[in-house]
């Protein structure tokens, strides 16, 4: 989905239909995938997970309006997500209590309005500066709001949170919303609209100047823009979309608790956006989907899931700062450029050596969890295709050997080879 403005001139000669296809193509593919996924994953749990992915996609994209587009590192973005969610929940309960005629499909807009409102209030004090000062203010506001959540029980519902029933309000399209499927489609439609809106926002004067302020706030001042105002507007809009995500979230879960405004939630959205890649539009989308999937599925498989999660994040920061989507785009670029023997093979080689190291690491971690956490470590455990006894030295030696070999090959051979190959083919685009 790279911006089309860079090759607008080249496109000027091609037929209009093709231009449109090129621009709209990715969106059509995304829409088709979003519509078709429930055909393959239709258990209600899977639908809930998919709905959460949709919510998280909006939330992570809105986060990236700050981090990727404007260069603002926030540790408190969940404040707007959560407060938006609370506003929407109060509306849902109001509808339940009074029969007020707002259709369910529009309830997320109440959340968005809530996000906008609090974005205006907190944005005014926090966007005066960028950098570390902004990051720390966002941390402080995040802690303030999440600590206040247990004091103002009227609004936050105390530690049990608030419940609502999504089947009560009327529907614009006559849907029931008692099943996960209809809810998923509601989320998907909103996610599509919000993603498109945020994509287009990047192409407006404000979106451009956000990039300009991120890269060179001083220069931006000398072309007439106040960096503070640019940051403020971006912040408010990002809060708007975060609130929208919060409003959808309460429709999916029908419950909201104080943790939605908390530090953990703020951390998760940061991780999602960064793992996906903050410099490409699709990055946060990929990151959000991956993180929701891992959170939901990996925890059911292994006790060590948080450790894997942390390691994945650290690995991305260290080896792929452009994020997974950014990395994939680079690979795709290399493949498109046709230099198969050049960098693609070298990249595969490097990835292969990392995979070997990863297998060794998984073996070590799983054995360690067995050794330290099983009530009887002498009981044999299954590991890949083997049955091992973790109280013996041999499996440990083997696992560490595989890990060390993978790392050594990567550092001393594969990575230099890959870097040379990339360099030879003119670097990454």
């Amino acid at each position: 989905m790279s911006a089309s403005q860079t090759n607008a001139r080249a496109l000027a000669d091609t037929p209009v239909a093709r231009v449109w296809l090129q621009r709209a193509g990715p969106w059509l593919v995304a829409a088709v995938i979003a519509l078709a996924v429930p055909l393959f994953m239709h258990s209600s749990h899977a639908l809930t997970m998919l709905s959460h992915m949709g919510v998280m996609v909006i939330f992570a994209l809105s986060y990236n309006m700050l981090l990727g587009n404007t260069g603002l590192l926030s540790f408190g973005h969940a404040v707007y997500f959560g407060l938006g969610g609370y506003m929407a929940m109060h509306m849902l309960r109001y509808i339940e209590a009074t029969g007020f005629g707002l259709p369910l499909e529009l309830v997320p807009l109440v959340g968005a309005a809530g996000g906008l409102l609090f974005g205006l209030i907190f944005g005014a004090v926090s966007t005066r500066r960028a950098g570390v000062v902004f990051a720390m203010i966002s941390l402080g506001i995040g802690e303030l709001v999440s600590s206040s959540s247990l004091m103002f029980t009227g609004f936050f519902g105390g530690e049990s949170g608030l419940y609502g029933n999504r089947t009560v309000p009327a529907s614009l399209v006559g849907a029931e919303y008692s099943s996960g499927l209809s809810t998923y489609y509601l989320v998907a439609v909103w996610a599509f609209i919000a993603a498109l809106a945020m994509y287009l926002l990047r192409k407006t004067p404000l979106g451009w100047m956000a990039n300009a302020v991120r890269d060179n706030p001083e220069r931006a001042q000398f072309v007439g823009y106040s960096p503070q105002m640019v940051r403020f507007f971006q912040f408010v809009l990002a809060s708007f979309f975060a609130g929208l995500a919060g409003g959808l979230f309460i429709i999916v879960d029908e419950i909201i608790t104080a943790e939605t405004v908390g530090m953990v939630q703020s951390g998760v959205v940061l991780l999602s956006a960064y793992i996906g890649g903050i410099l490409v539009f699709i990055g946060p989308v990929v990151g959000a989907i991956l993180v929701v999937f891992l959170e939901s599925e990996l925890s059911a498989i292994t006790n060590a899931w948080l450790l894997y999660f942390g390691l994945l994040f650290v690995a991305v920061v260290m080896f792929a700062p452009q994020g997974l989507a950014g990395l994939a785009l680079q690979w795709y670029g290399a493949w498109r450029a046709g230099d198969w023997r050049g960098s693609v093979a070298a990249r595969l080689y490097a990835a292969g050596s990392m995979l070997v190291a990863f297998l060794g690491l998984v073996a070590v971690i799983e054995m360690a969890y067995h050794l330290f956490q099983h009530w009887n470590p002498e009981q044999p455990m299954g590991l890949f295709m083997f049955t091992v006894n973790v109280t013996n030295a041999l499996p440990w030696l083997l696992a560490f050997a595989v890990l060390a070999a993978g790392i050594a090959v990567f550092i001393f051979h594969a990575r230099p080879v890959m870097q040379r190959a990339i360099h030879a083919s003119g670097g990454d685009r």
Partner: protein, 251 residues
């Protein structure tokens, strides 16, 4: 002060702690004039620019742009009142292309402000003006090249382009030919002369060839004070200037 004055400084001073860098500068720049400020290193030329453009706040004194006080205003407000500047060290949006840099510089003056309801690409006036500027800067061939990948001279040209793009009536150019070869500098002077025909120009320059080539009037700044401000011939003949600054170089 007459209606013809574009930029006026009255008793301007700037202290850094106990160091007095600007010690009471008075200056009138009439509309349409090409005014060059010269002076030895450390005379306070760049500081003067920083004060005028709002990058620093003056300690005392007044700055007036078309008769309105601008001392202490933030840079973007001053810019919007019709004053634009370039920097001694190239200061562009390095990650953006030539075209994007020019468009960014045009957005405010074309009235697009903080708009988030319209697309930049859908603004033909901005595109047309940027194309035109690019042509005049001889950068059309580099349209989609990132600013950071341009040659030095091209970056300087783009810097000038971005400065004038906003259509400001008063331009401050800080050593536009610094670090250039003779031929590059000549080309730059021609470019400046050509594209600043309708503007008031205030220029800091070291290269005396450039100075006497461009200037309608010259101000000599030494240790934060103006020791002469006159037409080039008069400055060349001024004994104090010769003694303080020009002496060895001219003769």
């Amino acid at each position: 002060m007459s209606d013809h004055t574009a930029l006026a400084l009255h008793g301007l001073t700037k202290d850094f702690g106990r160091a007095k860098i600007i010690r009471g500068v008075d200056l009138d720049v009439p509309r349409g004039e090409r005014h060059v400020i010269i002076g030895p290193n450390g005379a306070g030329k760049s500081t003067l620019f920083n004060l005028i453009s709002g990058r620093m706040e003056p300690t005392s004194g007044a700055i007036e742009l078309f008769g309105r006080g601008i001392g202490g205003l933030p840079p973007h407000r001053i810019n919007r009142m019709g004053l634009s500047r370039s920097f001694q060290v190239t200061n562009l949006f390095q990650n953006m292309t030539v075209m994007q840099n020019l468009r960014c510089a045009l957005l405010w003056s074309r009235g697009h402000g903080y708009a988030f309801w319209k697309l930049v690409n859908a603004q033909p006036d901005v595109t047309a003006r940027a194309e035109e500027l690019m042509e005049r800067l001889n950068l059309t061939a580099k349209r989609d090249v990132q600013a950071s990948l341009l040659t030095y001279a091209e970056q300087r040209a783009l810097e000038i382009g971005a400065t004038i793009a906003s259509g400001a009536e008063v331009l401050l150019l800080d050593e536009p030919t610094a670090g250039m070869s003779r031929s590059e500098a000549d080309a730059m002077v021609e470019l400046i002369r050509e594209i600043t025909q309708d503007c008031t120009l205030v220029l800091v320059e070291h290269d005396l060839g450039v100075v006497f080539n461009l200037a309608d009037r010259i101000t000599v700044l030494v240790y934060g004070e103006v020791i002469a401000s006159d037409v080039p011939e008069a400055v060349r003949a001024n004994a104090a200037v010769q003694e303080a600054y020009l002496g060895t170089e001219v003769h």
